[in-house]
Amino acid sequence: MVSSTKFKALSGALMLTAAGMALAPAASAEDTIKVGILHSLSGTMAISETTLKDVMLMLIDEQNKKGGLLGKKLEAVVVDPASDWPLFAEKAKQLLEVDKVAAVFGCWTSVSRKSVLPVFEQDNGILFYPVQYEGEESSKNVFYTGAAPNQQAIPAVDYLMKEEGVERWVLEGTDYVYPRTTNKILEAYLKAKGVKPDDIMVNYTPFGFSDWQTEVSKIKEFGGAGKKTAVVSTVNGDANVPFYKELGNQGVKATDIPVVAFSVGEEELAGLDTKPLVGHLAAWNYFMSGETPENKAFIDKWHAFIKSDKRTTNDPMEAHYIGFNMWVKAVEMAGTTDTDAVADAMIGVSVPNLSGGYSAMLPNHHITKPVLIGEIQADGQLNTVWQTSGLVPGDEWSDYLEESKDLISDWRKPLSCGNFNVKTGKCGGEVATQ
């Protein structure tokens, strides 16, 4: 009896181990190249991330129709981190260690990226991160295909200052890191441009905030000071719909107080009646209304793939499109899916974006993008009213923050450093990564 319990103990442990290993499908890794897709399909972030999973499946499908990559078929490995941040790290580990994927496309929120970052650095994987974010980061293993603050926020503020003559600013955001950092950068930038501190109002609201009456009336009051006022909104996700509904209903018109948003795209607008919002602005690097042939083809393919011609496309989708094509090109150049070789080949790769022109991967693992300012139309689309004359290179360490203005990132050898301090001549992260 005693021996049998011991045996039980042993077999129990074995079972757990075996179950853990059973997660790894039998050795079929030779004939396909696996691509991991790490987007939440349930929980609060499913609302944004599910679309990105679909667009990745479409891109992979299409590449396979073209004959795959390096003579092998691509195989998508989809996992669901369920909007649970530690689960993101667990799933990333599973993708890298068990499924042995060649690259991962995923994450939306900054916290999910922060959560998986150590995993990618330890297991030496590749992550393509498609969403605009606060910057202040550069990892050897991450390629940031979304916008850095200088590729979205600063051009938008420039536009408002020049074209709309705005002198008074409301920086309205959800209380988390992206709005905090963006607003810090904008505040510094505005002050550098001679805006008085009295003319800047910064305000934060919680996630999923739904009762905007007080905030909107505060904005109206602030706007009634006799100077042209604009709202720079970094309000996130679900809070946007009630925000815009309240703006529309309280009669804050774009001609009086324009609101420029960095987190509102076609997909968010699809959940809204946009007629009262016509003229409010959004700054992105891609609009669905863009008239390039590449974009038309992309939209047609998307509609065919998702089997609905009502679905919208948006900026993070374009970022995945760019990221995926860059990865394909880099793998072809390197002739292998080995992380280090691909990461080296990535720098300098340039592929067409959907707004007309080419986006290139920079040594700091960010990409060059055009910045577009669009106005909301009655049909829920964004119509480009202004665009930068050339491409804007992504700046990971903001020049407008005291602590980061001396830092640069360059992943080319021999520097190979994500936070090189040009003043001290030292790589800050050197000790950590050894």
């Binding site: 039980k8 103990a9 989809v78 669901d80 667990e90 150590p118 890191v177 950092t181 919680p206």
Partner: protein, 383 residues
């Protein structure tokens, strides 16, 4: 005879559980560290981290079961204690980064640097010492539970009401920790840890040690809880659960008993959280989400409340299911979890552990009906 069997079964189980836990983790750790990566029996590092996480969850479930299964307090806010312990550990780990942060600031964590904090807030003082941090891992959740329990039990808030205000408590903490002005890293929480007690967190050996530490802590608390629940003290707890007023009339200070167990349970949850953080590599306000606390309650229910093995089995089973489902059938995970909740409450009120005695009783019945003594290997027993 059945009763005898049950008694036998229960007393044995007491030692079996820690044996399985310790033996199993030792074996897994050995297979991970000693075998070369391409060996057939090699356990990937991924499984180590996963097991470590499960064991921390199991400890959380055990702490929850202590108050729910034995005293009848259904706390929907135990995630808050877990997260507080986690934050205490996270703060220690942040301070250990030192100048290796991206900005190279020796004192301030990165998130404070780029949000222009000039100096360390007072409540971060001392967290560079492990001893202080360790104290806080127990003290922060314990103190909160003590104050909260003192107020709640004294005014005899019970049952559903208590559940709802514990939920409100964790919700308030969720909102508070989301605020960047609180100085806990806001929504991103604390992350990018480098080392614990001088050991590099990326090393396989450190991870195996953390796993073993979790196993040891779980086993230790299991044995302690076992002693406690079998003592006179434990009997009073069950009396409070089953007939609170009667226990009070008999002269027991019900409030004090509840308060002691609630506080102790919170400390357990806090320590579970503290071990959880270095193994998953991040702590953020999401851990305060009321839904997480409810999920923990379900682990207990699935395993079987009012037993000490139950919550451990439940936590591991449900999380294993989550790992499998979210990988294989992502869309179906919530259907499965939701269905499990309903199924367990309707058809398995005693949880998985409760299946065993009822299975035994069935067998005994069957045997009696068949009217012969049990041979060595009976075919029906296999079914």
């Amino acid at each position: 005879m059945i009763a005898e069997k049950l008694g036998l079964f229960r007393s044995r189980l007491g030692w079996i559980v820690p044996l399985i836990i310790m033996g199993g983790t030792l074996l897994v750790a050995a297979l991970n560290l000693l075998l070369p990566p391409d060996a057939a029996l090699h356990v990937p590092g991924y499984v180590i981290a996963l097991l470590g996480k499960y064991l921390c969850y199991a400890l959380l479930a055990l702490s929850l079961d202590l108050v729910w299964g034995y005293v009848g307090i259904l706390s929907l806010g135990h995630g808050a204690f877990f997260a507080l312990g986690g934050y205490a550990m996270g703060m220690y780990l942040m301070r250990q980064i030192g100048t290796r942060g991206v900005y190279g600031n020796p004192v301030l964590p990165d998130f404070m640097v780029f949000l222009n904090w000039q100096e360390l807030p007072w409540y971060w003082y001392g967290f560079d010492h492990f001893a202080v941090a360790l104290l806080m891992m127990a003290l922060a959740p314990g103190l909160l539970a003590f104050v909260f329990g003192f107020l709640a039990f004294r005014s005899r808030v019970t049952g559903v009401y208590l559940s709802i205000i514990t939920q409100a408590l964790t919700y308030a903490l969720l909102l508070a920790f989301f605020r960047n002005d609180m100085g806990f890293g806001g929504n991103n929480g604390l992350t990018d840890f480098k080392e614990i007690l001088g050991a590099d967190l990326q090393l396989a050996g450190t991870k195996a040690c953390l796993l073993l530490a979790s196993a040891a802590l779980l086993s230790g608390f299991y044995l302690f809880c076992r002693r406690m629940t079998r003592s006179r003290f434990g009997k009073v707890l069950v009396a409070v659960r089953d007939a609170e007023s009667r226990a009070r009339f008999l002269g027991y200070r019900v409030e004090s008993y509840k308060l002691v167990v609630f506080t102790f349970s919170a400390v357990m949850a806090g320590l579970a959280g503290a071990l959880y953080v270095p193994q998953v590599g991040i702590i953020n306000p999401g851990e305060f989400d009321p839904a997480n606390s409810i999920e923990a309650v379900v682990w207990v229910a699935v395993g079987g409340r009012g037993t000490l093995v139950g919550p451990i089995i439940g936590a591991i089973l449900v999380n294993f299911g989550k790992t499998i489902f979210t990988g294989v059938l992502p869309e179906l995970w919530l259907f499965a979890l939701g269905g499990l909740f309903v199924f367990v409450t309707l058809f398995m009120p005693k949880g998985v552990v409760g299946l065993w005695p009822s299975l035994m009783a069935r067998l005994a019945q069957m045997r009696e009906r068949l009217g012969y003594q049990q041979p060595q290997h009976q075919p029906e027993a296999e079914e």
